[in-house]
């Protein structure tokens, strides 16, 4: 039967109290000093150490978000997991215990906020004269709560160091590290009832969406003069145990899972939103890329230009943020309520046509080679495309419309082509 899970700090203590385990653990850490897994595997002693540790609670220990000594727990998790996994994984397993609150709880929270007498008035449009701006109301709710107001003022005054007016030059460039720390404090110390409302408020106009985008003071916490390459950014993130853990958690909890109703693993919006917020204040800080209120696009501050031969991996990594329907649905669900979200139906993902072309917002499913019938044309390089005969010749009677379309057609004598948007 599977082991009972303990946190990695306890697991290290338990291992250190067991002479056999603690010596193996020491050996494995020495093996990993060289960071070359293959040499480690080739060394007998290292392999034996690995085997013993696979039997110990260290093997599948986890950490809890916001636990005491969270960083040490994460450090010991990664010290063991660098040994168990094969080199740099595209998706790493999250060190955090899964968030067990189901999405309905956090969104009941969102709807409760609406009815809470203290902020009830806040949630309805507070100013009848002006267009409804739920992000403005979220700021109001925060300003009326002492903890939230204090922490918000702290991170804004830390991040907003650029006060120059005349020439637009920065007099005192913002201290990004300190800004990130202040942001982490804000999201750690203030109740999600206030922080989520400021981050995921639903918008009906650009002013509201721009206020939402400005929540984390992007000029300091997010943007930089030069956009790093996304794989470089990932490498920087993975060199820091906290960022690495939060990134793994994001991949784990926000990975688009199309066959599910919500597009989220375990239908758990809350876990995805928690992971998103967990990345804010790290090297992989995320933010809305623009003030669009119709179509949310979230991204880290990086680009796939000059990725060389790793262009594809970079695009893949970037699309996990920019075209993530689980995250998008989770944000809509928080804003409009779990079931009434305008995108309750999963919106599948469209790969970017070319690295420099903006992703097509209307989603199209993407190709996986497993879907092909035996006789279907196995797409190949030019040379043998011809060999596959007519099935693979160019279909010249269908024009490639700008809007990718589904064509459905009644089986009638006369075959007309009817074009439908992809659901």
């Amino acid at each position: 039967s599977p082991r009972t899970q303990v946190d990695c700090l306890k697991a290290s203590d338990m291992c250190n109290q067991n002479p056999q385990c603690s010596s193996r653990y020491r050996i494995m850490r020495q093996c990993l000093v060289g960071k070359d897994r293959n040499t480690m595997l080739a060394n007998k002693e290292c392999q034996v150490a690995l085997e013993v540790l696979q039997e110990s609670p260290l093997y599948d220990c986890r950490c809890k978000r916001g636990m005491k000594k969270e960083l040490q727990c994460l450090q010991s998790y990664w010290s063991i997991h660098m040994g168990l996994t094969e080199g740099e994984q595209f998706y790493e397993t999250s060190p955090y215990e899964p968030v067990t609150i189901l999405h309905s709880d956090v969104f009941r929270l969102a709807s409760i906020i609406g009815m809470d007498p203290a902020t009830a008035k806040a949630n309805q449009c507070s100013d009848q004269g002006k267009p409804c701006n739920s992000c403005l109301d979220a700021a109001k709710a925060c300003n009326l709560n002492d903890t939230c107001k204090k922490q918000r003022s702290h991170y804004i005054s830390t991040c907003n160091k650029d006060t120059a007016v005349q020439t637009g030059q920065r007099s005192e460039p913002c201290n990004r590290k300190r800004c990130h720390k202040a942001l982490r404090l804000f999201f750690d110390r203030v109740q999600t009832e206030y922080t989520y409302r400021m981050l995921f408020c639903p918008c009906r106009d650009t002013a509201c969406a721009e206020r939402r985008r400005q929540t984390i003071v992007p000029s300091c916490a997010f943007e930089e003069k030069v956009k790093p390459n996304c794989l470089e950014l990932r490498k920087t993130c993975r060199s820091d145990p906290l960022c690495r853990s939060r990134l793994a958690d994001f991949h784990m909890n926000c990975q688009t899972t199309p066959h599910s109703i919500t597009n989220c693993p375990n239908e758990n919006y809350q876990a995805c939103l928690t992971s998103y917020v967990g990345l804010i204040g790290s090297d992989m800080t995320l933010n809305y890329v623009d003030a669009s209120y119709t179509n949310i696009t979230i991204s880290p501050w990086c680009t796939c230009r000059s990725s060389g031969n790793q262009e594809e991996e970079c695009e893949k990594f970037l699309s996990d943020f920019r075209e993530n329907t689980c995250l998008r649905n989770a944000i809509y669900a928080f804003g409009y309520g779990p079931d009434s979200g305008p995108f309750a139906k999963p919106v599948a993902v469209t790969p970017s046509l070319r690295p420099d072309v903006e992703p097509v917002s209307l989603s199209e499913p993407s190709v996986n080679q497993n879907d092909i019938k035996d006789d279907a044309c196995v797409f190949s390089t030019c040379a043998n495309l011809k060999e596959n005969g007519p099935k693979c010749n160019l279909s010249n009677d269908y024009l490639c419309k700008d809007e990718p379309k589904l064509i459905s057609m009644e089986r009638t004598t006369k075959k007309e082509v009817e074009e439908e948007g992809q659901s």
Binding site: S126, D127, K130, N133, L136, A139, K140, N143, L144, K149, R152, S153, H154, I156, S157, C159, N160, A207, E210, R211, Q214, V217
Partner: protein, 100 residues
């Protein structure tokens, strides 16, 4: 009512500091009477003012009553203005009041 901390919820624009922002915040101020906090000093000063013992000068007459004033302020208040620029203002809202 004795000198105490009061509050009113206003928009940042309503603070009258020139910032244009629809964000709402709680402005706390001190108001109320301080008669119970008078000292011998106040009694003496009032008597001597009325008796004409004190030379008046351009900077006006001395004050012979305690004032209900803030004894501590909220350090900072930050907000996003209507041009989407952040500002932080200091010592705007009272945190504690006293008769001084």
């Amino acid at each position: 009512r004795a000198c105490s901390l009061r509050h009113v919820d206003v928009t940042v624009s309503d603070l009258g500091l020139g910032y244009q922002s629809d964000e709402t915040l709680r402005f706390k101020y001190c108001s109320g009477g301080c008669s119970t906090h008078r000292r011998n000093y106040d009694i003496t000063l009032e008597y001597m003012k009325n008796a004409g013992f004190l030379k008046a000068d351009k900077s006006g007459k001395p004050r012979d009553k305690p004032c209900c004033r803030p004894t501590a302020y909220d350090k900072d208040i930050s907000f996003l203005d209507n041009n989407n620029r952040y500002h932080t203002i200091h010592n705007v809202s009272a945190r504690q009041c006293g008769c001084v």
